[in-house]
């Protein structure tokens, strides 16, 4: 082992750099419910919550159950002149599959509204499970958590729900529309996704994976 270059003396593990503007601080853990904010660019750096681990796991489990159920059950049904059709989330994703060159969109849509949200939830369970149980982190937990964070902008289930609302209005004149059970499941999902992002303190997770 070679000694680490002593750039500024103090222990680097106690420092935190703002990812947005590069300002460096000596990290002081705020109390639960409090937030540490970058003095330069106002980015929230640390925002711990009590028992956030359990809550996040509970939400992640709920997300997996909801997405899987909502994918298979019909979420909207229409009726025109005695003919009716019901559509599940999977049908919506695959709507592009039959349309020739647009078919790759079917894969992309399925990924954005079903696979990525589920994958993120599974990764969160994998990473936080051992932490909550006071066990050492699972193998490759750091890589798993980084992947989950990188996928965050690509998880679009909540946008899909708002899309449903617009689609409904568009065809309201044309046909009678009924909500299926999956629609309500997806609506609940939107709330859960928002809760999940609000509870997640990345700094605390990384700290807990350090051991």
């Amino acid at each position: 082992m070679t000694p680490a270059p002593q750039a500024i003396g103090p222990d680097l593990t106690a420092m935190i750099a703002c990812p947005r503007c590069d300002a460096v601080y000596r990290a002081v853990q705020p109390g639960p419910g409090e937030r540490a904010v970058c003095a330069c660019c106002k980015t929230v750096l640390i925002a711990p919550r009590r028992r956030a681990g359990q809550q996040l796991i509970a939400v992640a489990v709920a997300v997996v159950v909801l997405v899987v159920a909502a994918t298979l059950a019909p979420f909207l049904a229409i009726e025109v002149a005695g003919r009716s059709n019901a559509s599940s989330v999977l049908d919506a994703a695959l709507a592009f599959a039959a349309a020739g060159p647009v078919a790759i969109l079917a894969l992309a849509v399925a990924a954005l509204i079903v696979f990525i949200p589920v994958l993120r939830a599974l990764l969160v369970i994998y990473v936080l499970g051992p932490v909550v149980l006071d066990r050492p982190p699972a193998p490759h937990a750091a890589a798993a958590f980084r992947l989950s964070e990188e996928l965050r902008p690509w998880s679009m289930a909540e946008i899909f729900v708002i899309g449903c609302a617009i689609a409904l209005v568009k065809i309201a004149d044309l046909a009678q529309v009924h909500f299926g059970p999956a629609f309500w499941m997806f609506a609940a999902l939107v709330v859960l996704v928002v809760v999940q992002d609000g509870f997640m303190c990345r700094y605390s997770v990384w700290k807990s994976l350090e051991r």
Binding site: L12, D22, I78, E149, K170
Partner: protein, 209 residues
């Protein structure tokens, strides 16, 4: 939180910060020992990447507006609608609210995003009339709002899967849906390639000069 000395950047202290997990390492470290992310004092070629994705995003946005987004067949007629045409139709039927939502999500927001990213990238090179905090806010808005443009693609997917009533009425997606989705994805990648630390570098240099 305690400021380490006066407010200094990791680069000034001879350190390199991990943008993924906020840990700091001695300058020259290649990978973050905590999360495994690649470390760069500033993202290399960040602006070139921003411009490259930006350009393909803009290019894809053109056919997205020229080709039909949806084609609708009913017993009496069949019609194809572009993004703007569809919104105009809705407005004509009195659905002003939804027409406005569609115009905002598929026209105003994409155009605004192109402009905002171009402004941020140009601001790094040539300075900007906006303060660092304003530009930081603008960047966060672009990052947050970018995903929501996908809504139009999802609407097409929902309509095309739902409205399949044989001869009575059927909806199928047009080529514009693919181009539009690509444009949104490229613009998201463009925004993600931008290293917001560059905003603050220029700001700090300006203060010192």
């Amino acid at each position: 939180m305690e400021i380490a000395g006066t407010l200094r950047t990791a680069r000034e202290m001879g350190l390199v910060a991990c943008t993924s997990c906020t840990r700091v390492w001695p300058a020259g470290t290649e990978r973050c020992g905590r999360c495994g992310h690649r470390l760069h004092t500033r993202a290399p070629l960040a602006l070139q990447r921003v411009w490259a994705w930006w350009l393909v995003g803009v290019i894809a946005y053109v056919p997205a507006n020229l080709y039909p987004m949806l084609s609708t067949r009913t017993l009496v007629a069949s019609q194809e609608a572009t993004i703007i045409g569809g919104a105009v139709d809705l407005a004509r039927h009195g659905n002003w609210g939804i027409a406005l939502v569609i115009l905002t999500a598929s026209v105003a927001i994409p155009l605004g995003k192109f402009l905002a990213i171009a402004m941020l990238a140009l601001g790094v090179r040539h300075g900007s009339a906006l303060t660092g905090s304003r530009r930081q806010q603008l960047y966060q808005v672009v990052e947050y709002i970018g995903r929501w443009s996908m809504i139009d693609v999802f609407v097409v997917a929902i309509l095309a899967s739902l409205v399949q009533l044989g001869a009575v009425a059927s909806v199928s997606p047009g080529p514009a849906s693919l181009f539009f989705a690509l444009s949104v994805i490229f613009t998201m990648l463009s925004a993600q390639s931008f290293d917001s630390r560059l905003i603050w570098d220029a700001e700090r240099e300006g203060r010192r000069a």
